[in-house]
Assembly symmetry: C2
Homo-oligomer: 206 residues x 2
Amino acid sequence: MTKPADRISRRQVDKFEERRRQLADAALQTLSELGYARTSLREIAQNSEFSHGVLHYYFRDKVELITYCVRQYKARCVLRYDGIVHDAEEPDALARDFAEGLAATLVEDALLHRLWYDLRSQSLFEESFRADVADIDESLERMIWRVVGRYAELAGIEPTCSSSMAYATFDGLFQQALLRHLAGSELATDDLKAGARHLLSHLVCA
Amino acid sequence: MTKPADRISRRQVDKFEERRRQLADAALQTLSELGYARTSLREIAQNSEFSHGVLHYYFRDKVELITYCVRQYKARCVLRYDGIVHDAEEPDALARDFAEGLAATLVEDALLHRLWYDLRSQSLFEESFRADVADIDESLERMIWRVVGRYAELAGIEPTCSSSMAYATFDGLFQQALLRHLAGSELATDDLKAGARHLLSHLVCA
DNA sequence: AGAAAATCTTGACAGTTGTCCAAGATCCTC
DNA sequence: GAGGATCTTGGACAACTGTCAAGATTTTCT
Protein backbone atom coordinates (compact mmCIF):
# COMPACT_ATOMS: atom_id res chain seq x y z
CA MET A 1 0.00 0.00 0.00
CA THR A 2 2.96 2.32 0.22
CA LYS A 3 3.56 4.62 -2.67
CA PRO A 4 6.58 3.89 -4.88
CA ALA A 5 8.43 6.91 -3.60
CA ASP A 6 7.97 5.68 -0.06
CA ARG A 7 9.20 2.24 -0.89
CA ILE A 8 12.24 3.68 -2.57
CA SER A 9 13.17 6.04 0.16
CA ARG A 10 12.52 3.45 2.81
CA ARG A 11 14.71 0.90 1.09
CA GLN A 12 17.37 3.52 0.63
CA VAL A 13 17.15 4.51 4.22
CA ASP A 14 17.33 0.90 5.26
CA LYS A 15 20.38 0.29 3.15
CA PHE A 16 21.93 3.46 4.38
CA GLU A 17 21.34 2.45 7.98
CA GLU A 18 22.56 -1.06 7.32
CA ARG A 19 25.84 0.22 5.94
CA ARG A 20 26.22 2.52 8.91
CA ARG A 21 25.82 -0.46 11.18
CA GLN A 22 28.31 -2.38 9.10
CA LEU A 23 30.91 0.36 9.31
CA ALA A 24 30.25 0.87 12.99
CA ASP A 25 30.91 -2.83 13.45
CA ALA A 26 34.31 -2.47 11.86
CA ALA A 27 34.94 0.58 14.01
CA LEU A 28 33.88 -1.25 17.14
CA GLN A 29 36.23 -4.10 16.33
CA THR A 30 39.13 -1.73 15.71
CA LEU A 31 38.39 0.23 18.86
CA SER A 32 38.24 -2.88 20.99
CA GLU A 33 41.60 -3.97 19.62
CA LEU A 34 43.51 -0.71 19.72
CA GLY A 35 41.64 1.50 22.16
CA TYR A 36 40.32 4.97 21.53
CA ALA A 37 43.64 6.77 21.54
CA ARG A 38 45.20 4.62 18.82
CA THR A 39 42.22 4.14 16.49
CA SER A 40 42.25 6.10 13.22
CA LEU A 41 39.69 6.26 10.47
CA ARG A 42 42.03 4.56 8.02
CA GLU A 43 42.55 1.73 10.44
CA ILE A 44 38.81 1.32 10.79
CA ALA A 45 38.38 1.28 7.03
CA GLN A 46 41.02 -1.42 6.73
CA ASN A 47 38.96 -3.58 9.07
CA SER A 48 36.01 -3.12 6.73
CA GLU A 49 35.74 -3.88 3.04
CA PHE A 50 35.72 -0.25 2.06
CA SER A 51 38.18 2.55 1.59
CA HIS A 52 38.70 5.26 4.16
CA GLY A 53 36.83 7.90 2.20
CA VAL A 54 33.49 6.18 2.57
CA LEU A 55 33.38 6.91 6.27
CA HIS A 56 32.62 10.54 5.54
CA TYR A 57 29.83 9.51 3.24
CA TYR A 58 28.00 7.78 6.07
CA PHE A 59 29.16 9.82 9.02
CA ARG A 60 29.63 13.55 9.32
CA ASP A 61 32.89 13.24 11.23
CA LYS A 62 34.81 11.01 13.56
CA VAL A 63 32.83 12.02 16.62
CA GLU A 64 29.56 11.04 15.00
CA LEU A 65 30.99 7.68 14.00
CA ILE A 66 32.24 6.89 17.47
CA THR A 67 29.06 8.13 19.08
CA TYR A 68 27.15 5.80 16.78
CA CYS A 69 29.49 3.01 17.84
CA VAL A 70 28.85 3.68 21.48
CA ARG A 71 25.12 3.47 20.90
CA GLN A 72 25.53 0.22 19.02
CA TYR A 73 27.66 -1.10 21.85
CA LYS A 74 24.91 -0.24 24.27
CA ALA A 75 22.45 -2.33 22.31
CA ARG A 76 24.76 -5.30 22.62
CA CYS A 77 25.20 -4.74 26.32
CA VAL A 78 21.53 -4.71 27.11
CA LEU A 79 21.02 -7.80 24.99
CA ARG A 80 23.89 -9.60 26.62
CA TYR A 81 22.88 -8.79 30.16
CA ASP A 82 19.22 -9.45 29.65
CA GLY A 83 20.06 -13.11 29.30
CA ILE A 84 21.56 -13.09 32.74
CA VAL A 85 18.50 -11.86 34.54
CA HIS A 86 16.53 -15.03 34.69
CA ASP A 87 13.49 -16.32 36.44
CA ALA A 88 14.97 -18.62 39.03
CA GLU A 89 12.81 -19.75 41.90
CA GLU A 90 15.56 -19.93 44.48
CA PRO A 91 17.72 -16.99 45.57
CA ASP A 92 20.80 -19.22 45.63
CA ALA A 93 20.20 -20.36 42.08
CA LEU A 94 19.80 -16.76 40.96
CA ALA A 95 23.02 -15.78 42.69
CA ARG A 96 24.86 -18.68 41.12
CA ASP A 97 23.56 -18.02 37.61
CA PHE A 98 24.25 -14.33 37.89
CA ALA A 99 27.81 -14.95 39.05
CA GLU A 100 28.32 -17.46 36.24
CA GLY A 101 26.97 -15.00 33.71
CA LEU A 102 29.29 -12.27 34.87
CA ALA A 103 32.28 -14.58 34.71
CA ALA A 104 31.29 -15.83 31.26
CA THR A 105 31.02 -12.38 29.70
CA LEU A 106 34.20 -11.35 31.47
CA VAL A 107 36.10 -13.93 29.45
CA GLU A 108 34.12 -13.99 26.22
CA ASP A 109 33.73 -10.25 25.76
CA ALA A 110 36.88 -9.14 27.50
CA LEU A 111 37.98 -6.83 24.70
CA LEU A 112 34.58 -5.17 24.49
CA HIS A 113 34.55 -4.58 28.22
CA ARG A 114 38.04 -3.15 27.99
CA LEU A 115 36.74 -0.77 25.34
CA TRP A 116 33.81 0.21 27.52
CA TYR A 117 36.04 1.30 30.37
CA ASP A 118 38.24 3.13 27.92
CA LEU A 119 35.32 5.01 26.41
CA ARG A 120 33.89 5.80 29.82
CA SER A 121 37.21 7.38 30.74
CA GLN A 122 37.27 9.27 27.46
CA SER A 123 33.82 10.65 28.16
CA LEU A 124 35.31 12.46 31.15
CA PHE A 125 37.52 14.43 28.77
CA GLU A 126 35.47 14.50 25.58
CA GLU A 127 32.18 16.23 26.20
CA SER A 128 30.61 14.74 23.05
CA PHE A 129 30.44 11.18 24.38
CA ARG A 130 29.24 12.02 27.85
CA ALA A 131 25.50 11.77 27.26
CA ASP A 132 25.64 8.41 25.54
CA VAL A 133 28.04 6.98 28.06
CA ALA A 134 25.86 8.14 30.92
CA ASP A 135 22.94 6.51 29.17
CA ILE A 136 24.69 3.16 29.02
CA ASP A 137 25.77 3.49 32.61
CA GLU A 138 22.19 4.02 33.67
CA SER A 139 20.94 1.03 31.74
CA LEU A 140 23.63 -1.12 33.34
CA GLU A 141 22.62 0.19 36.73
CA ARG A 142 19.02 -0.79 36.05
CA MET A 143 20.16 -4.22 34.95
CA ILE A 144 22.03 -4.76 38.21
CA TRP A 145 19.09 -3.45 40.17
CA ARG A 146 16.75 -5.94 38.50
CA VAL A 147 18.97 -8.75 39.66
CA VAL A 148 19.22 -7.38 43.17
CA GLY A 149 15.50 -6.74 43.37
CA ARG A 150 14.65 -10.22 42.19
CA TYR A 151 17.13 -11.73 44.60
CA ALA A 152 15.66 -9.82 47.50
CA GLU A 153 12.18 -10.79 46.42
CA LEU A 154 13.02 -14.48 46.28
CA ALA A 155 14.75 -14.32 49.64
CA GLY A 156 11.83 -12.41 51.13
CA ILE A 157 13.94 -9.46 52.23
CA GLU A 158 14.54 -5.86 51.31
CA PRO A 159 17.67 -4.45 49.64
CA THR A 160 19.76 -2.51 52.13
CA CYS A 161 21.46 -0.18 49.70
CA SER A 162 20.59 2.14 46.87
CA SER A 163 20.55 1.21 43.24
CA SER A 164 23.54 3.37 42.44
CA MET A 165 25.58 1.84 45.22
CA ALA A 166 24.78 -1.67 44.08
CA TYR A 167 25.90 -0.83 40.58
CA ALA A 168 29.04 0.94 41.75
CA THR A 169 30.24 -2.01 43.80
CA PHE A 170 29.41 -4.66 41.22
CA ASP A 171 31.07 -2.56 38.57
CA GLY A 172 34.16 -2.16 40.69
CA LEU A 173 34.27 -5.88 41.21
CA PHE A 174 33.91 -6.53 37.51
CA GLN A 175 36.47 -3.97 36.47
CA GLN A 176 39.05 -5.33 38.86
CA ALA A 177 38.36 -8.82 37.58
CA LEU A 178 38.82 -7.60 34.02
CA LEU A 179 42.15 -6.02 34.85
CA ARG A 180 43.41 -9.20 36.40
CA HIS A 181 41.96 -11.41 33.69
CA LEU A 182 43.64 -9.38 30.95
CA ALA A 183 46.87 -9.46 32.93
CA GLY A 184 46.72 -13.23 32.67
CA SER A 185 45.49 -14.13 36.13
CA GLU A 186 43.71 -17.48 36.27
CA LEU A 187 41.95 -16.62 39.52
CA ALA A 188 40.11 -13.62 38.11
CA THR A 189 36.94 -15.45 37.09
CA ASP A 190 36.63 -17.49 40.28
CA ASP A 191 37.24 -14.44 42.43
CA LEU A 192 34.62 -12.57 40.46
CA LYS A 193 32.06 -15.32 41.01
CA ALA A 194 32.78 -15.52 44.72
CA GLY A 195 32.81 -11.75 45.02
CA ALA A 196 29.50 -11.32 43.25
CA ARG A 197 27.76 -13.86 45.46
CA HIS A 198 29.31 -12.37 48.57
CA LEU A 199 28.21 -8.92 47.51
CA LEU A 200 24.68 -10.09 46.83
CA SER A 201 24.24 -11.83 50.16
CA HIS A 202 26.13 -9.47 52.46
CA LEU A 203 25.78 -6.01 51.03
CA VAL A 204 22.75 -5.30 48.98
CA CYS A 205 20.57 -7.68 50.95
CA ALA A 206 21.75 -8.00 54.51
CA MET B 1 84.92 12.91 52.21
CA THR B 2 83.63 12.46 48.66
CA LYS B 3 86.09 13.10 45.89
CA PRO B 4 85.50 16.13 43.68
CA ALA B 5 84.49 13.98 40.74
CA ASP B 6 81.87 12.31 42.87
CA ARG B 7 80.52 15.57 44.12
CA ILE B 8 80.26 16.87 40.61
CA SER B 9 78.52 13.86 39.20
CA ARG B 10 76.21 13.64 42.16
CA ARG B 11 75.22 17.24 41.79
CA GLN B 12 74.69 16.71 38.09
CA VAL B 13 72.61 13.67 38.77
CA ASP B 14 70.58 15.60 41.30
CA LYS B 15 69.99 18.44 38.91
CA PHE B 16 69.18 16.00 36.16
CA GLU B 17 66.65 14.23 38.35
CA GLU B 18 65.21 17.51 39.54
CA ARG B 19 64.57 18.66 36.01
CA ARG B 20 63.00 15.33 35.18
CA ARG B 21 60.63 15.83 38.08
CA GLN B 22 59.92 19.36 36.95
CA LEU B 23 59.08 18.26 33.42
CA ALA B 24 57.06 15.35 34.68
CA ASP B 25 55.08 17.84 36.73
CA ALA B 26 54.22 19.80 33.63
CA ALA B 27 53.33 16.55 31.89
CA LEU B 28 51.13 15.47 34.77
CA GLN B 29 49.31 18.77 34.70
CA THR B 30 48.76 18.55 30.96
CA LEU B 31 47.63 14.95 31.17
CA SER B 32 45.16 15.69 33.93
CA GLU B 33 43.70 18.50 31.86
CA LEU B 34 43.54 16.87 28.45
CA GLY B 35 43.73 13.13 29.06
CA TYR B 36 46.16 10.70 27.57
CA ALA B 37 44.71 10.65 24.07
CA ARG B 38 44.95 14.40 23.55
CA THR B 39 48.26 15.15 25.25
CA SER B 40 51.21 15.88 22.96
CA LEU B 41 54.82 16.59 23.81
CA ARG B 42 54.55 20.13 22.52
CA GLU B 43 51.54 20.74 24.73
CA ILE B 44 53.47 19.45 27.71
CA ALA B 45 56.40 21.73 26.90
CA GLN B 46 54.06 24.70 26.69
CA ASN B 47 52.94 23.97 30.24
CA SER B 48 56.57 24.09 31.31
CA GLU B 49 59.12 26.86 30.87
CA PHE B 50 61.06 24.99 28.21
CA SER B 51 60.83 24.24 24.54
CA HIS B 52 59.61 20.94 23.21
CA GLY B 53 63.07 19.74 22.20
CA VAL B 54 64.26 19.48 25.79
CA LEU B 55 61.96 16.58 26.53
CA HIS B 56 64.16 14.25 24.52
CA TYR B 57 67.19 15.42 26.43
CA TYR B 58 65.70 14.18 29.70
CA PHE B 59 63.56 11.32 28.46
CA ARG B 60 64.30 8.73 25.82
CA ASP B 61 60.83 8.91 24.33
CA LYS B 62 57.23 9.66 25.14
CA VAL B 63 56.63 6.32 26.80
CA GLU B 64 59.47 6.85 29.24
CA LEU B 65 58.16 10.30 30.10
CA ILE B 66 54.66 9.09 30.78
CA THR B 67 55.90 6.09 32.71
CA TYR B 68 57.92 8.47 34.84
CA CYS B 69 54.78 10.53 35.32
CA VAL B 70 52.82 7.54 36.47
CA ARG B 71 55.46 6.74 39.05
CA GLN B 72 55.43 10.33 40.27
CA TYR B 73 51.67 10.19 40.47
CA LYS B 74 51.93 7.10 42.60
CA ALA B 75 54.11 8.93 45.09
CA ARG B 76 51.43 11.59 45.44
CA CYS B 77 48.74 8.99 45.89
CA VAL B 78 50.44 7.18 48.72
CA LEU B 79 51.16 10.49 50.39
CA ARG B 80 47.61 11.65 50.00
CA TYR B 81 45.99 8.50 51.27
CA ASP B 82 48.36 7.99 54.16
CA GLY B 83 46.82 11.01 55.79
CA ILE B 84 43.46 9.32 55.74
CA VAL B 85 44.47 6.27 57.69
CA HIS B 86 44.37 7.64 61.14
CA ASP B 87 44.58 6.33 64.65
CA ALA B 88 41.05 6.75 65.85
CA GLU B 89 39.98 4.92 68.97
CA GLU B 90 36.40 4.32 67.90
CA PRO B 91 35.34 2.39 64.81
CA ASP B 92 32.63 4.93 64.08
CA ALA B 93 35.11 7.78 64.20
CA LEU B 94 37.41 5.92 61.83
CA ALA B 95 34.56 5.25 59.42
CA ARG B 96 33.55 8.89 59.52
CA ASP B 97 37.04 10.23 58.98
CA PHE B 98 37.72 7.78 56.20
CA ALA B 99 34.52 8.71 54.43
CA GLU B 100 35.30 12.39 54.86
CA GLY B 101 38.78 11.87 53.48
CA LEU B 102 37.49 10.08 50.41
CA ALA B 103 34.95 12.80 49.74
CA ALA B 104 37.57 15.52 50.23
CA THR B 105 40.04 14.09 47.74
CA LEU B 106 37.20 13.36 45.35
CA VAL B 107 36.57 17.07 45.08
CA GLU B 108 40.06 18.49 45.56
CA ASP B 109 41.94 16.11 43.28
CA ALA B 110 39.15 15.33 40.86
CA LEU B 111 41.28 15.94 37.77
CA LEU B 112 44.09 13.74 39.04
CA HIS B 113 41.65 10.93 39.78
CA ARG B 114 40.18 11.33 36.34
CA LEU B 115 43.67 10.95 34.94
CA TRP B 116 44.26 7.85 37.03
CA TYR B 117 41.26 6.05 35.61
CA ASP B 118 42.29 7.14 32.14
CA LEU B 119 45.80 5.80 32.55
CA ARG B 120 44.55 2.58 34.07
CA SER B 121 42.42 2.08 30.99
CA GLN B 122 45.36 2.90 28.76
CA SER B 123 47.46 0.31 30.51
CA LEU B 124 45.07 -2.32 29.19
CA PHE B 125 46.09 -1.36 25.66
CA GLU B 126 49.65 -0.11 26.10
CA GLU B 127 51.78 -2.87 27.51
CA SER B 128 54.46 -0.44 28.66
CA PHE B 129 52.36 1.12 31.41
CA ARG B 130 50.92 -2.08 32.78
CA ALA B 131 53.56 -2.84 35.39
CA ASP B 132 53.55 0.61 36.95
CA VAL B 133 49.79 0.84 36.94
CA ALA B 134 49.49 -2.56 38.59
CA ASP B 135 51.97 -1.34 41.17
CA ILE B 136 49.84 1.66 42.04
CA ASP B 137 46.74 -0.48 42.13
CA GLU B 138 48.39 -2.78 44.65
CA SER B 139 49.48 0.07 46.88
CA LEU B 140 45.95 1.47 46.82
CA GLU B 141 44.62 -1.94 47.71
CA ARG B 142 46.97 -2.12 50.69
CA MET B 143 45.84 1.35 51.76
CA ILE B 144 42.21 0.27 51.74
CA TRP B 145 43.09 -2.90 53.54
CA ARG B 146 44.83 -0.97 56.32
CA VAL B 147 41.65 1.00 56.89
CA VAL B 148 39.49 -2.11 56.86
CA GLY B 149 41.87 -3.98 59.15
CA ARG B 150 42.00 -1.14 61.62
CA TYR B 151 38.23 -0.79 61.55
CA ALA B 152 37.77 -4.49 62.23
CA GLU B 153 40.32 -4.34 65.00
CA LEU B 154 38.59 -1.43 66.72
CA ALA B 155 35.22 -3.11 66.39
CA GLY B 156 36.61 -6.37 67.67
CA ILE B 157 35.59 -8.36 64.61
CA GLU B 158 37.15 -9.99 61.59
CA PRO B 159 36.89 -8.80 57.99
CA THR B 160 34.53 -11.00 56.01
CA CYS B 161 36.03 -10.43 52.60
CA SER B 162 39.36 -10.50 50.87
CA SER B 163 41.65 -7.54 50.43
CA SER B 164 41.13 -7.46 46.68
CA MET B 165 37.38 -7.49 47.05
CA ALA B 166 37.44 -4.66 49.54
CA TYR B 167 39.53 -2.58 47.17
CA ALA B 168 37.39 -3.44 44.16
CA THR B 169 34.18 -2.32 45.81
CA PHE B 170 35.58 0.86 47.33
CA ASP B 171 37.19 1.70 44.02
CA GLY B 172 33.92 1.14 42.21
CA LEU B 173 32.19 3.39 44.67
CA PHE B 174 34.80 6.08 44.25
CA GLN B 175 34.86 5.90 40.48
CA GLN B 176 31.10 6.21 40.24
CA ALA B 177 31.21 9.17 42.59
CA LEU B 178 33.88 10.78 40.42
CA LEU B 179 31.81 10.34 37.30
CA ARG B 180 28.83 11.95 38.91
CA HIS B 181 30.86 14.69 40.55
CA LEU B 182 32.48 15.66 37.25
CA ALA B 183 29.07 15.58 35.60
CA GLY B 184 28.03 18.27 38.06
CA SER B 185 26.02 16.25 40.53
CA GLU B 186 25.83 17.80 43.97
CA LEU B 187 24.91 14.53 45.62
CA ALA B 188 28.08 12.73 44.60
CA THR B 189 30.09 13.52 47.71
CA ASP B 190 27.33 12.76 50.18
CA ASP B 191 26.50 9.51 48.43
CA LEU B 192 30.16 8.57 48.51
CA LYS B 193 30.37 9.20 52.23
CA ALA B 194 27.24 7.20 52.95
CA GLY B 195 28.32 4.45 50.61
CA ALA B 196 31.76 4.12 52.15
CA ARG B 197 30.37 3.83 55.67
CA HIS B 198 27.76 1.36 54.53
CA LEU B 199 30.38 -0.71 52.79
CA LEU B 200 32.61 -0.69 55.82
CA SER B 201 29.93 -1.80 58.22
CA HIS B 202 27.96 -4.22 56.07
CA LEU B 203 30.39 -5.80 53.68
CA VAL B 204 33.96 -6.00 54.74
CA CYS B 205 33.07 -6.39 58.41
CA ALA B 206 29.70 -8.03 58.81
C1' DA C 1 19.22 0.58 -22.95
C1' DG C 2 20.18 4.87 -21.09
C1' DA C 3 19.67 8.64 -17.88
C1' DA C 4 19.84 9.73 -13.11
C1' DA C 5 20.95 8.89 -8.56
C1' DA C 6 23.55 6.49 -5.34
C1' DT C 7 27.70 4.74 -3.80
C1' DC C 8 32.64 4.20 -3.62
C1' DT C 9 37.73 5.15 -4.67
C1' DT C 10 41.55 7.81 -4.97
C1' DG C 11 44.44 11.33 -4.12
C1' DA C 12 45.24 15.63 -2.16
C1' DC C 13 45.10 19.16 1.63
C1' DA C 14 46.59 21.21 5.91
C1' DG C 15 47.60 20.29 10.49
C1' DT C 16 49.69 17.51 14.08
C1' DT C 17 52.60 14.11 15.89
C1' DG C 18 57.13 11.95 17.81
C1' DT C 19 61.74 12.18 16.88
C1' DC C 20 66.16 13.88 15.89
C1' DC C 21 69.95 17.21 15.25
C1' DA C 22 72.94 21.15 14.56
C1' DA C 23 73.81 25.30 16.50
C1' DG C 24 73.65 28.50 20.13
C1' DA C 25 73.36 29.72 25.12
C1' DT C 26 74.67 28.86 29.74
C1' DC C 27 77.25 27.12 33.43
C1' DC C 28 81.32 25.43 35.75
C1' DT C 29 86.19 24.61 36.42
C1' DC C 30 90.83 25.82 35.95
C1' DG D 1 88.39 35.04 31.46
C1' DA D 2 89.28 30.95 28.41
C1' DG D 3 87.78 26.44 27.37
C1' DG D 4 85.00 22.65 27.89
C1' DA D 5 81.00 20.29 29.54
C1' DT D 6 76.27 20.83 30.00
C1' DC D 7 71.99 22.45 28.77
C1' DT D 8 68.53 24.50 25.65
C1' DT D 9 66.62 26.08 21.42
C1' DG D 10 64.27 26.00 17.17
C1' DG D 11 63.73 23.96 13.02
C1' DA D 12 63.54 19.96 9.96
C1' DC D 13 61.86 15.46 9.03
C1' DA D 14 58.76 11.70 7.85
C1' DA D 15 54.74 9.59 9.29
C1' DC D 16 50.19 10.08 10.43
C1' DT D 17 45.78 12.40 11.24
C1' DG D 18 40.74 14.08 9.87
C1' DT D 19 38.65 16.08 6.12
C1' DC D 20 37.23 16.89 1.60
C1' DA D 21 36.17 16.79 -3.34
C1' DA D 22 36.50 15.20 -8.12
C1' DG D 23 35.89 11.42 -10.68
C1' DA D 24 34.92 6.33 -11.37
C1' DT D 25 31.72 2.78 -10.53
C1' DT D 26 27.51 0.66 -9.40
C1' DT D 27 22.63 0.61 -8.70
C1' DT D 28 18.05 2.12 -9.69
C1' DC D 29 14.30 3.68 -12.34
C1' DT D 30 11.99 4.71 -16.69
